[in-house]
Amino acid sequence: MSTADLDALVKRSYQHGFITDIDSDTVPPGLDEDVVRLISRKKREPQFLLDWRLKALNHWQGMREPHWGHLRYKPIDYAAISYYSAPKQPGGGPKSLAEVDPKLLATYDRLGVPLHERARLAGVAVDAVFDSVSVATTFKERLAAAGVIFCPFSEAVQRHPALLEQYLGTVVPYTDNFYATLNSAVFTDGSFVYVPPGVRCPMELSTYFRINAANTGQFERTLIIADAGSHVSYLEGCTAPMRDENQLHAAVVELIALDDAQIKYSTVQNWYPGDEQGRGGIYNFVTKRGECRGRNAHISWTQVETGSAITWKYPSCILRGENSIGEFYSVATTNHYQQADTGTKMVHIGANTRSTIISKGISAGHGQNAYRGLVKILPSATGARNFTQCDSLLMGKQCGAHTFPYLEVRNPSAIVEHEASTSRISEEQLFYCLQRGIGSEDAVNMIVSGFCRSVFKELPMEFAVEAQNLLAVSLEGAVG
């Protein structure tokens, strides 16, 4: 591959970097009780929720930003962030797709979010979150027929307050960590899913989040409850426009699986990664945790992380129910000056609980990629098993891969296995493909996809292709 080709490929720009020109309803920067009360009032929240937010704010004000991640960045000025931004809507929210601002719909169109008929064809119900306010939800009726609740978080606050009060904060309490606590105080919207006992959700559920307004943080909160014997698969896709300044994204996702329930949560994360010099990009500090609360419950996290300037996230499973299963499948790529510190926590509490961790880290350019994982077997977890495989692929000479596995085994019957490898795309592999007439870009994609195969096969079919394409775009020109 020639230097000119390489340059052209490396400089290929972020394809979702456009800004939608819409009047926003944005509060001035800064965070205090008034802001929290304002958010709660705008959302017409019940008292319990406001109280919960205020407790979180109070707790957060005594907390310090954690710095144990293998990450370097300039300090975040939390006082300079605006904590609420919503597109201005004449006369309340849209009742149907027809009422949605056409510019917003055009934005989704460019992002490839399947709304309208495309959604039906793809079998995907989309709850699209645009700067904190959900603007369109499709397929509610079909889901409602199955008894599945899938709606914006703010709608759930109005319509299902009892479910919220019962489950919110029970997996990620408001005291959990700096970012989750901040989120608890100021979250503005997100998704809510409840699948009733014995119901298999009739379609993949999907949410696309998008950060649009400048200088706003985005704090979504997602809560998914799979009642006994139910099954749901959820996909989250993320993109953000290009800006020179950094933007904070601190989301919280809580999953609860009761007896015999299964939740499959897949993420394709393509937040703006910053430019080739490392300017701009999303700071992604996210807390995702699922609890297998019942027997034989099963929670599976699959993530493909190609975006963000900084990624700090550890989708985790608390395996409380006997025989419950936790899985974490991850592909994280860092190119240019991206940094990722990501992994998982598997906490085995119940007897015969099992967990699997497959992590694939790909580093290119000056990218730094760290896997950080905790496997914790408590004394009660007799017969617990864990298998961890952690592979790193290096492309180029200035990138880095790091592995931080933590093991705490307090039950002698537990079996814990850990495998790790670090490799490079070899010149031989590349030349072999070239010699078969396959172009260098396709060859690199093929080799990298092969490396990630055990993770991609866990993604829902329609998103596996998207993930593969994203990976290809984010690594273009990474090998010469």
């Binding site: 072999y432 493909c433 070239l434 010699q435 078969r436 007439g437 172009g439 260098s440 093929m446």
Partner: protein, 265 residues
């Protein structure tokens, strides 16, 4: 010894591959010292020589592997300057290299790679791409010829293949891609006699007036099964003797030393 083999001049067709006075160095060390070679359509040439004589280098340089510095000389393929083409362009134009040590590519499906390769070549030739069913039918018939089990196709490229399986897989790829010129680098090494026959059958099935084969080999036993039109001996980076099959047999009897000494003298 054949004069035709020496200078490649024969009435009629222009050579498919024409290498002239090629000098190549690797890491500052000269490996090819002025190699000339003419291969016309329909011919099978064997390049023999002791270890380290530059045989594999010649194959790699022609296929465009990075890391080789061409000091002087030229190589043309069907009249086109080979060195002006990227490796993938050479492949699509019909040049195939059968690797001595085929590399493993974990997670990449064997059939998937082959289909991508075939369709790249077909696009180049202005042909439509084969769909999954057409491709499968083609690859099945070729696998049968190579006595390769179909389960092979679903495995990752060369991963966990035995030495013999790797070599058969190389020839399978060649049969599917139907190159004009096949450079086969030590394809016979590491094969037992049964596998050698299968591989030879595969190569012979590709022979025809439109195609040429260059066999790079240390031993003459492959030549019992794939009978070459010309045999060249490479020693110390240059072709020191050319002839026909009889030369290969003579080498088997006498070894390479006498030729190497002659070349040095």
């Amino acid at each position: 010894m054949s004069a035709a083999a020496e200078n490649g001049v024969q009435a009629g067709a222009a050579p498919m591959l024409e290498v002239r006075d090629l000098q190549v160095q690797v890491g500052g060390q000269k490996v090819l010292n002025g190699v000339s070679l003419s291969v016309r359509a329909g011919e099978v040439h064997a390049i023999m020589g002791p270890n380290g004589s530059g045989k594999s280098t010649l194959a790699y340089v022609l296929a465009g592997r990075p890391g080789y510095e061409i000091i002087s000389g030229s190589a043309s393929f069907e009249g086109r300057d080979l060195f002006a083409l990227a490796p993938e362009a050479r492949a699509r134009a019909g040049l195939f290299l059968g690797f001595q040590y085929p590399v493993e590519i974990p997670g990449v499906n064997n059939a998937y790679l082959l289909k991508a390769a075939l369709n790249a070549a077909r696009r180049e030739r202005g042909q439509s791409e084969l769909d999954a069913f057409e491709f499968l039918a083609l690859v099945r018939s070729k696998s049968h010829l190579m006595q390769i089990d179909e389960s092979f196709l679903g495995r990752a490229v060369n991963e966990g293949f035995s030495g013999g399986e790797k070599k058969r897989n190389e020839i399978l790829q060649m049969l599917v891609l139907e190159p004009k010129l096949a450079l086969l680098d030590e394809t016979d090494s590491g094969l037992d006699i049964d596998a050698l026959k299968v591989v030879a059958n595969g190569i012979n099935s590709l022979r025809g007036p439109e195609r040429s084969v260059v066999l790079v080999t240390h031993y003459q036993r492959l030549l019992d099964h794939v009978v070459p039109d010309f045999v060249h001996v490479l020693a110390r980076g240059r072709i020191v003797r050319s002839g026909d099959r009889a030369l290969a047999l003579e080498l088997e009897r006498r070894g390479y030393d006498w030729l190497v000494e002659q070349a040095a003298a």
